[in-house]
């Protein structure tokens, strides 16, 4: 079951990418696009659009989707909770708060949104880990601390915005999420993050399986749960934080991609991690393409589309499939 599914997901992704590169608001025919990709076009302006705007955008959105889907599977296992997603430990609210502070203090021109967001989310995340990781029942403690931090940070951000209404639109736009800022530099950064996350953690699939058991059984199986949990959650959180800091908060993919994959391949992480990443990539690439082309001359926030498209699909599969979490 697993290999054909992975092959199908990769094929669909490639097809979608090919379709996406031919679509866009400016008037470039599909034949011309192919000619440009093959290096046989002399129209410099159009070549710029295809190779410097569309291509990096397609690659980053796919890879960010993969990171979010993969991290989602990690979070759901390590926190033993089907409601968990990569944002639950303060990554997104920390990032938004970081941006709001930078704007309020007038630092945004010097540090830039991505750096401010990254600082905000990493500090928040480490704070949450420090508060709860060593406690008994660490999953519950982590989850609740994360939720509480999300509340306090979003209140603090709202307060900052309320005091600086002139900046409201900028931070709102940033937090809605978009890949319109993607360039080749982001492709490399996200590519490295994707590899650094998936290769080592992909080998830990047995650890993730054991984390879903209750702690004493895991311990009997020779797993030091607390340490392992930190070892998988920390890289997934940092990877997510980097994506969020560049492209804003893109919800739902990290929650949904693992669940959809679980419906198709069952709960074992050996089978689950690959499809979670591929499905996340597919969904985000599709959403971003729609965000690019739905308005004749403008852009839509991609996060809106991931939810609008993803939720009905998710609910459909949830009703149809045989679902097993652990």
């Amino acid at each position: 079951m697993r290999r054909p599914l992975v092959a199908a997901l990769i094929d669909t992704g490639a097809l979608l990418a090919l379709l996406a590169i031919g679509l866009g608001p400016s008037n470039i025919s599909f034949g011309e696009t192919i000619a440009i990709l093959l290096g046989r076009s002399t129209a410099a302006g159009k070549a710029y659009i295809v190779t410097r705007l569309r291509l990096p955008r397609i690659l980053t959105s796919y890879m960010v989707g993969a990171i979010l889907g993969f991290s989602g599977a990690i979070f759901q296992a390590a926190l033993r909770n089907p409601m968990a997603d990569p944002f639950i430990l303060g990554v997104s609210s920390g990032a938004s708060f970081g941006v709001a502070v930078a704007l309020a203090l007038g630092l945004s021109a010097f540090v830039g949104f991505p750096i401010a967001a990254l600082i905000g989310s990493v500090i928040t995340m480490l704070f949450i880990f420090a508060l709860s990781i060593k406690r008994r029942r660490a999953t519950t403690s982590l989850l609740l601390t994360g939720v509480a931090m999300n509340y306090i940070l979003s209140s603090a951000m709202t307060l900052l915005l309320f005091m600086n209404k002139e900046q409201y639109q900028r931070i709102l736009y940033w937090s809605l999420g978009t890949f319109s800022t993607a360039t080749w530099r982001e492709v490399w950064v996200v590519g490295v993050v994707l590899l650094a996350l998936t290769l080592p953690l992909g080998l830990k699939h047995r650890t993730l399986d054991m984390m879903l058991l209750d702690e004493s059984s895991a311990l009997a199986g020779g797993l030091e749960v607390g340490k392992s949990r930190l070892l998988v959650l920390l890289p997934a959180s940092i990877a997510t934080a980097i994506c969020v800091s560049y492209f804003g908060v893109i919800g739902f993919i990290g929650l949904m991609a693992p669940h959809v994959s679980r419906l198709l391949v069952g709960p074992r992480h050996r089978n689950l991690l690959g499809p979670s990443a591929l499905f996340g990539g597919l969904l985000l690439l599709g959403s971003d393409t729609l965000a690019r082309i739905l308005l004749p001359t403008g852009e839509l926030p991609v996060g809106i589309i991931t939810s609008l498209m993803g939720v009905p699909l998710f609910l459909y599969l949830l009703r149809k499939g045989r679902y097993r979490y652990g």
């Binding site: 866009g24 608001p25 400016s26 008037n27 302006g45 159009k46 710029y48 659009i49 410097r52 705007l53 569309r54 007038g106 021109a109 949104f113 209404k165 002139e166 900046q167 639109q169 900028r170 736009y173 940033w174 809605l176 978009t178 319109s180 800022t181 360039t183 530099r185 804003g248 690019r292 308005l295 004749p296 001359t297 403008g298 852009e299 926030p301």
Partner: protein
């Protein structure tokens, strides 16, 4: 003897009482006569500008946080932003009239009206004819219609002059940016500013767009000759230009970049004609 002294004292006392009571009656009356005068709170920057231009600034007792022109307006007490003014602060200024244009909530204006204050809500079209309507409506309220007509005539003359001169020039392609970065905001076809760019002799590349939003791809496709950039909030333009010219893909645009004063150019009011002249000068790099 005692009697007369007593009578005299009585007389003086009654005189004092009489004078006092007269004074007491007189006081609220003088207060009432000032109440007949207009006391205006303006909730929109362009309304404040218009009242000032009509020479009726003495009638203003309050403004919104955003009313920053002319500079003297800043000395008036502010009652909050357009989106969330404070009703209490506004009532404390004891206005007899509140004038607002767009953005102020209906619920807020209804509350002001319930407090017995006249509300003048001016929602005009975003065009030059809309600007004249706005000026006339305010002029009527502050009784300065003659001055308003003169002002409008001057504006119309200047606009005609700019438009005529613009017709003799080549039309460069122009992109007027209000925001850039994650989402791009520009003067699209359905905005008053697109009309102004065309009047000033520019070819607005974003006129194929709508709703103030534009895409990077189309911007790069058009690669406009002139890029008009609105400074970020709290910046004089230098930091905004620095950010624009170092961020991909904007740094690959070849056009000339000019900073424009978004406050002056985007507010419908007495400065709209001068704004058009400024726009002409920015686009063609020469004075009128």
């Amino acid at each position: 003897m005692h009697n007369t002294r007593f009578m005299r004292r009585l007389l003086v006392a009654s005189m004092v009482l009489l004078a006092g009571s007269l004074l007491l009656f007189a006081l609220p009356q003088t207060e009432k006569s000032t109440q007949d005068e207009l006391r205006i709170v303006s909730l929109s920057p362009n309304v404040t500008e218009t009242i000032w231009a009509l020479g009726k600034e003495d009638l203003l007792v309050g403004r919104s946080d955003y009313c920053n022109y002319p500079e003297e307006a800043l000395s008036l007490p502010a009652v909050g932003t357009l989106y969330s003014p404070s009703l209490e602060q506004l009532l404390a200024l004891e206005p007899t009239m509140v004038i607002s244009s767009a953005f102020v909530g209906d619920q807020f204006l209804a509350a002001v009206e319930q407090a017995g204050i006249t509300v003048l809500e001016i929602n005009t079209q975003e065009s030059f004819s809309g600007t004249y309507e706005l000026i006339r409506a305010i002029a009527q309220a502050v009784k300065a219609t003659d001055k308003a007509e003169l002002m409008i005539l001057e504006m119309q003359n200047l606009i005609k002059e700019v438009a005529l001169k613009a017709q003799t020039k080549a039309k460069p392609s122009v992109y007027m940016a209000f925001d850039f970065g994650s989402f791009d905001s520009a003067a699209t076809a359905d905005t008053f500013l697109s009309e102004m760019v065309e009047l000033a002799g520019g070819n607005n590349v974003a006129k194929d767009g709508a709703n103030w939003t534009y895409s990077k791809e189309l911007l790069m496709y058009h690669d406009p000759e002139v890029i008009l950039l609105s400074p970020r909030w709290g910046d004089d333009g230098s930091a905004t230009i620095a950010e624009f010219t170092t961020t991909k893909p904007y740094s690959d645009l070849r056009g000339r970049i000019e900073i424009f004063d978004a406050d002056m150019i985007s507010r419908q009011g007495p400065r709209s004609a001068i704004a058009l002249q400024t726009l002409f000068e920015l686009i063609h790099q020469e004075s009128l």
